[in-house]
């Protein structure tokens, strides 16, 4: 399962995308996999936002293997 990264998260990871091992069926599980498999992102990820298929997603929301998942800090556009 791939997760796109933006801004601080991309910079910290050194890549625009990370790959998670093992299945995740909810947003909460995605967050958990990131914390386990990318411990240097864990603190940042905890206060980051998850989007699934271009919509904001919350812990109980389901994820499917072919969803586009993204993790990013609170936005600051404008």
């Amino acid at each position: 399962m791939k997760v796109k990264l933006f801004a601080t998260l991309k910079e910290r990871a050194g890549a625009p995308e990370i790959v998670l091992q093992g299945a995740a069926t909810t947003v909460a599980e995605v967050r958990q996999r990131i914390a386990e498999q990318y411990p240097h992102l864990a603190a940042l990820a905890a206060r980051s936002i998850v989007a699934v298929n271009h919509q904001f997603a919350f812990d109980a929301d389901p994820v499917h293997p072919d969803d586009e998942i993204a993790l990013f800090p609170p936005v600051s556009g404008g």
Binding site: A7, T8, I49, H54, F56, F72, P74, V75, S76, G77
Partner: protein
């Protein structure tokens, strides 16, 4: 929405052209256009900014800008044209970084309020981030809005 109500949605690296956006949103029924533009602020109190560098999650940003245009039309039913344009890449002090443009028949038809609503929402829910370049280095700016269900 009819073709008589133009909606311009863009994430672009090109400079923002306010004259072109005014023309793009103005229909023959319109006598009033409100444009908001955000600019790179060089001085914030004693803090100096040299440049801002914007990055977008482009596909999602476009979807969220379209959603904001729909929200604006739902809340301000008398408005006609809408443009929501965010520039990305490096921008210097004074340059427009974003534009929210709304046309209506009359100035009291909600164009001012819709433009204000549009820029408020854009800063809340459109996935764009900026890195500030200061004399002493650069840092990502973080927003403080956390999306709610339905955002």
């Amino acid at each position: 929405m009819s073709t008589a109500e133009p909606t311009v949605i863009e994430i672009t690296a090109a400079p923002i052209d306010l004259n072109a956006l005014q023309r793009a949103v103005t229909t023959p029924r319109d006598g009033a256009v409100v444009l908001f533009t955000g600019t790179v602020r060089g001085q914030t109190g004693d803090v100096e900014t040299i440049q801002l560098e914007y990055e977008a999650y482009t596909e999602m940003a476009l979807a969220k800008l379209r959603q904001i245009a729909e929200e604006m039309r739902a809340r301000f039913p008398l408005i006609h044209g809408i443009a929501l344009v965010q520039r990305v890449g490096a921008m210097e002090v004074g340059e427009p970084t974003v534009a929210v443009v709304v046309s209506a028949s009359h100035r009291g038809d909600g164009a001012f309020e819709a433009a204000r609503y549009g820029i408020d929402r854009l800063k809340q829910i459109v996935p764009i981030w900026k890195k500030e370049v200061r004399p002493d280095g650069s840092a990502w700016v973080e927003g403080d809005y956390m999306p709610a269900v339905g955002d």
